[in-house]
């Protein structure tokens, strides 16, 4: 299948099965499975130079905190990022498939996959995953953000579990904590005096830290910031230079001076 540069098809031909589903689960139409690891708040915000993508670090299974250092903002290639909400087992696998798919396409076809092509690849995986998502064993609702080099601008998208993609004009959110911050984002964008898209990086980062702290306040599955454990969210910036991670030390300073004092 190299002639079409389709890595996912190549994997399937070699007997790879993407979907994580078992007939035992969800047979009678309701969740009959043990608690799954999930829970999150992730968001992507367009700012002056591109896009900032952020996520808390907590993974939960039912009432239990599974892990407090998860990285949910996954770098797929130099210009795009997938922030995951939902079942990590499936989401990490999706990220791996996408990462290899984009590389494989570039190396076999000798050109980069377009931003639309990348989005489509993610939608295809989500569609493929639909049975598992409906059975309750593998729902993933990602936020996909990147810098479109052809158009020279940042872009953000959010998805539903079946693979429909929606473009966020200014921002996109996902995960159990997202209802809390969606309204705040809308409010800030419209009435704070300056739309998000015009903010410099530092101001946008402060807003993101405040939003994640708010999400953690109302959603037990969102980790927020834990100063004692030196745990800060993951924040990545995507500009025409590519994807870069904002160092935790910088977040620490911003949090101490601009977030904690108001809490």
């Amino acid at each position: 299948m190299a002639f079409q540069g389709d890595f996912f098809q190549l994997l399937k031909e070699q007997g790879y099965q993407f979907e994580l589903t078992s007939p035992k689960f969800g047979e009678n139409g309701h969740a009959s499975h043990p608690p799954l690891t999930q829970g999150t708040t992730v968001l992507a915000v367009k700012y002056r130079d591109g896009v900032l993508v952020a996520g808390d670090r907590r993974a939960t299974a039912g009432n239990m905190v599974m892990y407090d250092r998860t990285d949910k903002v996954l770098e797929i290639d130099r210009y795009c990022v997938m922030a995951i909400a939902g079942v990590p087992a499936t989401a990490f696998e999706m990220a791996r498939v996408l990462e290899h798919s984009f590389k494989y396409y570039r190396r076999s076809q000798l050109q980069d996959l377009s931003f639309e092509g990348k989005l489509r690849a993610l939608s295809k995986l989500l569609k493929e995953n639909a049975p598992a998502a409906l059975a309750g064993t593998g729902a993933v609702v990602p936020v996909f953000a990147g810098y479109d080099l052809q158009q020279g601008c940042g872009k953000v998208y959010f998805h539903d579990i079946l693979g429909a993609e929606f473009e966020g004009v200014d921002h996109a959110v996902s995960g159990s904590g997202s209802p809390t911050i969606r309204g705040i984002l809308h409010y800030i964008n419209r009435w704070s005096g300056q739309p998000l898209a015009r903010l410099p990086e530092e101001e946008a980062t402060i807003i993101i830290l405040r939003l994640l702290t708010s999400a953690a306040e109302f959603d037990s599955a969102t980790g927020g910031v834990n100063v004692e454990a030196n745990l800060y969210p993951t924040v990545k910036r995507i500009t025409e230079k590519g994807v870069e991670t904002i160092p935790a030390d910088h977040l620490k300073t911003l949090y101490a001076s601009k977030v904690a004092q108001y809490v």
Binding site: A2, L11, R96, V97, K103, R107, S108, L110
Partner: protein, 274 residues
């Protein structure tokens, strides 16, 4: 008629002769490691001859473009499924060559009812340090060799020997910069191309008096001759150059050096274009 053993040997012999002829006009290929990476260099007429295979692996080839593409796709499939199913660290040049390409090429070469691959390949694998860089070359019959520091492809083995000897005397991979290594690489390419055209002239003239003399193969040329051949060679062909850059951010280390960058790194070429 090939079912008798000696006929088969004869057929394979003919095939060797046929294949040797196919590479006479080909462009030699040079790969050398330097402090910050590996350089691969050749010339082409539009169709590229240097390719990215995996995060730290690059491929170059001589021969028929369609065969090259077929083998390139085979090795891409192997590398990417391995990198996905296991991990990128498990994708190694040695495995791709020894268990992947070499058996396929050998089989095609020896199945005398089918067409062989008209290709010679060179695989460069970037290590974390210059002394961990590896090079693999594989001939049209599936014979492969592993090299440290540098490797070359040329129309015949004696040409490759000449090129390698020239490279060895002019480069110290553990200390060389990109610019220094590029200059020697481009001269080595010209030396290879010069030796090939010398060979071709010899065989044309000797075919008339039907006595081929080994002594006609000339292995040493002066720097002026090399430079002159470089200038004439680059009038018809474009220099193609890629690096595996040890310092590149991210997992993919492959980078194409564009024409502008080549000219700024190689002042000796500016003289040729003026």
């Amino acid at each position: 008629m090939y079912d008798e053993p000696y006929r088969w040997v004869e057929a394979v012999g003919n095939r060797r002769q046929y294949l040797d002829d196919q590479f006479r006009q080909g462009s030699p290929l040079v790969a050398v490691s330097y402090v910050d990476g590996i350089v691969l260099l050749t010339t082409s007429h539009g169709t590229p001859k240097l390719y990215e295979i995996y995060d730290r692996i690059a491929l170059g080839g001589m021969g028929h473009p369609a065969d090259l593409e077929k083998l390139r796709f085979a090795i891409l499939d192997m590398a990417h499924t391995e990198g996905f199913q296991r991990s990128p660290g498990d994708v190694t040049g040695a495995r791709l060559i020894k268990y992947g390409l070499a058996p396929a090429i050998k089989q095609a070469f020896e199945e005398i009812y089918k067409a062989p691959y008209i290709t010679k390949l060179l695989l460069a694998e970037l290590g974390n340090l210059p002394n961990q860089d590896r090079f693999f070359t594989i001939d049209y019959d599936g014979t492969f060799e592993e090299h440290d520091d540098m490797a070359v492809l040329g129309a015949a083995s004696h040409i490759e020997d000449t090129m390698r000897a020239y490279l060895k005397t002019h480069v110290t991979p553990s200390a060389a910069t990109l610019q220094a290594v590029l200059e020697v690489a481009v001269r080595t390419w010209a030396l290879g191309a010069l030796s090939q055209s010398h060979d071709n002239e010899q065989s044309e003239s000797s075919s008339s008096d039907s006595k081929e003399t080994e002594s006609n193969k000339k292995d040493s040329f002066s720097e002026e001759q090399i430079l002159e051949h470089l200038q004439t060679g680059l009038k018809e062909k474009t220099l193609e150059c890629v690096v595996l850059d040890r310092q590149a951010p991210g997992s993919s280390k492959y980078r194409t050096i564009n024409q502008q960058e080549i000219l700024s790194l190689l002042p000796l070429l500016n003289k040729t274009t003026n």
